[in-house]
Amino acid sequence: MRRMVVLVVVGLVVLGGCGPGPAPAPTEAPTPTAPPAPRTVRLMTHDSFDVSEEVLAAFEAQHNAKVEVLQAGDAGVVLNQAILSADNPLADVLYGVDNTLLSRALKAGILEPYASPLLDEIPDALELDPQQRALPVDYGDVCLNYDKGWFAGHDLPPPANLEDLVKPEYRSLTVVENPATSSPGLAFLLATVGHFSETGATTYLDYWADLRKNDVLVVDGWEDAYYGQFTYGSGGEGDRPIVVSYASSPPAEVYFAERPLEEAPTAAVVSDGSCFRQIEFVGILKGGQNRDLTEAWVDFMLDQAFQEDIPLHMFMFPANQDAALPDAFARFALVPAHPAEVDYTAIETHREAWIEAWAGVVVR
């Protein structure tokens, strides 16, 4: 007992005295004889960030650097943390802010412009910020997915567009995520906003009212929707053959299948206006260290090696047009030609109103 107390006292003293300070930053020029100590680039990102060891090691070796990855929950939490720590940033680079959060990040003024030469290889349509504070790294489309086997077995054509879901023959077949708590849920709500708009004969709220009448199931997050309720993902325990997921989910099903599949067991609905495109950005945080190294990291993220690593690690599509897609993606992924369009600045201004209106129609 006494020893424990001593331990704690010592622990508190150590903790108070010498907590790990900010990453070492030897800025003075290294002497030519001794090899310079590696510098650190600190990357702040969401929990879904992933990269292969090999690719990461290549960067670290080339730049004599260490990449420190800070993951702290989903993109919303990470952005909050970045904004709150603006005076004394946690990291040098922020990755994972998407177009639903972009406006908030830009307004907060936490990012610095950087005109990366690699931007030439990225389609203009993905570059939303003209001041180049947020640079597109990858994108993914949130679309309806369906269980091919279920539809084949029930003699029903799979849904072709959003409108199909409110037809009587599709009653009680769909599960969606709550836009107030889930990022694909919000993306799907935005798809309906873009597709049906807020005014006109059938507004997005009218559509949702019809969906509710057709017994749509709303759950908290993607995990429960996909693994709990979706017939295919749950291995038959769920009873909903249509789920809101990503256009990259079918190739992921092939890639993670137990035995080689000739065909994806699920498919995404990619007709015009039925998907919402999430674009993920990287940006240099104000007040970070080692600007040159940080720029090198941003370039690296936009360059071929990293970009080709994205699909099988984050299940998104590379923004760089020259990046080759892995086999599973090239063969089984469908990319919607015309996702629903919602301006990213409008998302910031209307997010709360749209979600509240949605809740009024669907939940309460």
């Binding site: 300070g21 004394n88 107030a180 749950s234």
Partner: protein, 614 residues
């Protein structure tokens, strides 16, 4: 012998017994039992005491109040000016008032249900010994560590439209539609709250009950009281400190319920905690989130203050009996029935969902055999830089958990010692404590303070850490230490609540007698207090271990470079589509359950020196 210890021995000799006297001696108990009295000059000793006893408070101050105050003041000063507009909005909007109301009544209902269902179980565990008892007890605690999403999947497997229960009922009753429709209902929220919290009542009340003298109730029966009356008028009042402590923990847990409400309740239900999360993450409305947090904290504080007051009144020293005397094998049919019925309830309610998960992890693979996904846990086919080897996840989780147990037991026992000593009503003749002269007047406020972290939103506190602990000497934002600190903050109330009723139940005369016979304070503590409290300390240790192994909310919000825990590994798998990910998430969940069960069994086997079992 330090000043404190000597003072105690003198006091023990001078004083007689009696009501006020007992209180007086209890007041000095913390010193008398204190193993910290280091032989040295009085001034050193008093300084040491001050330091040691203020450690728990210092801990709270640094890692709770400071970050909390930082984030709240930042949230309430958007643009640099104090604005309480958000609080106004809160009380003007019917939706938030409804949310508060729902939060309160669902927690109250969950608490009543949990205590009602678990009390018979606690009785059976307290009075009878039967084969497999410790395993059943360990299994009942496993739910506590499971991530909500995993529990949701288990419930779907059992109670969903195509779950085992529905399939069985359909076959049995010849129905063509599933008769049970519990998904996204209040019923399943309540069921999940019982599932998670049953163990709190079972362990806290059961441990306390086991040392109650059965002869008290038997005497009442002999005098003609019926079984029920004897229980109500003799046992129940004696048990009330433990029941109160357990019920309070259950209530606060349900009051701040988050995952269960979101995942199992669905979008129609919201507690304050859920709303804080939504406002922070989705609407990025920090002022409103802060306002909701303040309401949540104030409510917890008020509740705790009332509780602490009641507790001080009902707590009394007891004649405790060791387990060997109070426990026996069930013999009569009626006793066997009681044991069987309660063990059966635990198996159905708590263990069946666990079995469903394990079964699923073994049967999901179509081609690879039962252990396919367990094998895959050890592979890293994509060469991911963030691959977590299962051994590593287990090691990280265990490392954090053991550190949490050590830190929270140390701080918790100190806190309990501080809280134990009641205000010095009348005992002027007693040599008063050299330390903490001003504490007694604050003590009624102290107890609630230690509970506050449980009633505080993890989202709010997580952001508080980012804002507050960002500069040397407390630059901890990205340190793994922060995980241990956050876990300890949550574990501390469990330790305090587990230990305090046992400490209060010790008859001070036992200590006085020991001291009178010449026992040193250390020996008094070791031979009087420790045997009686040891069990309760182990209960506290189990809960601290559990809290740390299962904690996900706060851990996930802390910017951490490496060291993923098992729950975080589970969430990583579940974040991606594909049967391999689903299977590995289930396999990792099974591993988590296994490690925790072994951990509980190990902690329960732990004995302090040659101290007899109590």
């Amino acid at each position: 012998m330090g000043g404190g210890g000597g003072a105690v021995r003198r006091g023990g000799k001078e004083r007689g017994s009696g009501g006020a006297g007992e209180r007086g001696s209890e007041r000095r108990f913390a010193i008398r039992h204190s193993p910290f009295s280091i032989p040295h000059s009085p001034s050193f000793s008093s300084f040491t005491h001050l330091l040691i006893y203020s450690l728990p408070l210092l801990f709270l101050l640094l890692f709770y109040f400071y970050p909390l105050a930082s984030i709240l003041s930042l949230s309430f000063t958007p643009g640099g000016h104090l604005s309480l507009e958000a609080l106004g909005k809160l009380f003007r909007t019917p939706y938030y008032l409804q949310t508060l109301w729902f939060t309160v009544w669902q927690a109250a209902l969950s608490t009543v249900l949990t205590v009602g269902l678990a009390l018979p179980g606690a009785y059976v565990f307290a009075r009878y010994d039967f084969p497999g008892k410790s395993l059943v007890q360990a299994l009942t605690t496993v739910p506590f560590v499971l991530p909500t999403i995993v529990v949701a999947l288990a419930f779907t497997a059992l109670l969903g439209p195509r779950g085992l229960a529905n399939l069985a009922l359909m076959r049995l009753l010849g129905l063509d539609r599933p008769p049970l429709d519990l998904q996204y209902t209040l019923a399943i929220i309540l069921l999940a709250h019982v599932f998670y919290n049953y163990t709190l009542v079972l362990r806290i009340v059961g441990t306390y009950w086991a040392n109650l003298d059965p002869q008290l109730e038997e005497a009442a029966r002999m005098l003609g009281a019926g079984r029920w009356r004897a229980f109500r008028e003799v046992t129940l009042p004696l048990l009330s400190p433990a029941i109160g402590a357990a019920a309070l923990l259950v209530f606060i847990f349900c009051f701040t319920s988050f995952g269960v409400i979101l995942v199992l309740g669905g979008p129609r239900f919201a507690t304050l905690e859920v709303e804080i999360y939504r406002q922070t993450i989705q609407y990025l409305d920090l002022p409103l989130a802060a306002a909701l947090s303040v309401v949540q904290i104030l409510f917890t504080f008020a509740l705790m203050a009332v509780y602490a007051r009641l507790q001080a009144r009902v707590a009394r020293p007891l004649e405790l009996r060791p387990r060997q005397v109070t426990q026996r094998r069930p013999r009569r049919p009626r006793e066997r029935l009681a044991v069987g019925a309660n063990a059966g309830l635990m198996l159905v309610l708590l263990v069946a969902p666990l079995v469903a998960l394990v079964a699923r992890s073994l049967t999901l693979s179509e081609t690879g055999g039962a252990l396919a996904f367990y094998r895959q846990l050890f592979e890293n086919p994509r060469g991911s830089a963030f691959y977590v080897a299962p051994v590593e996840a287990v090691r990280n989780s265990l490392g954090f958990a053991l550190a949490t147990v050590a830190l929270s037991l140390t701080l918790g026992l100190l806190a309990a010692a501080v809280l134990l000593r009641p205000a010095p009503a009348r005992a002027p003749s007693l040599p008063s404590l050299p330390s903490l002269p001003s504490l007694p007047s604050l003590r009624p406020l102290l107890d609630p303070l230690f509970m506050l972290p449980l009633g505080t939103s993890a989202v709010t506190l997580g952001l508080g850490y980012i804002v507050a602990l960002d500069r040397p000497p407390l630059n901890l934002r990205t340190s793994p230490l922060l995980v241990i600190l956050a876990h300890t903050l949550v574990a501390l109330p469990f330790v305090v609540r587990s230990v305090l009723p046992a400490l209060r139940s010790i008859n001070p005369r036992l200590r006085e007698a020991a001291a009178l016979l010449g026992a040193s304070p250390w020996r008094v503590w070791r031979e009087v207090d420790l045997p009686i409290v040891a069990r309760a300390v182990l209960v506290g240790a189990v809960f601290a271990f559990t809290v740390s192994m299962g904690e996900f909310g706060a851990t996930s919000l802390i910017a951490r470079p490496e060291r993923p825990t098992m729950p975080i590994a589970i969430y990583r798998f579940l974040g991606r589509p594909g049967v391999a990910n689903y299977g590995q998430a289930l396999a990792m969940s099974t591993l988590l359950m296994l490690v925790c069960t072994l951990g509980f069994l190990a902690i329960e086997r732990f004995r302090v020196g040659e101290v007899g079992e109590f």
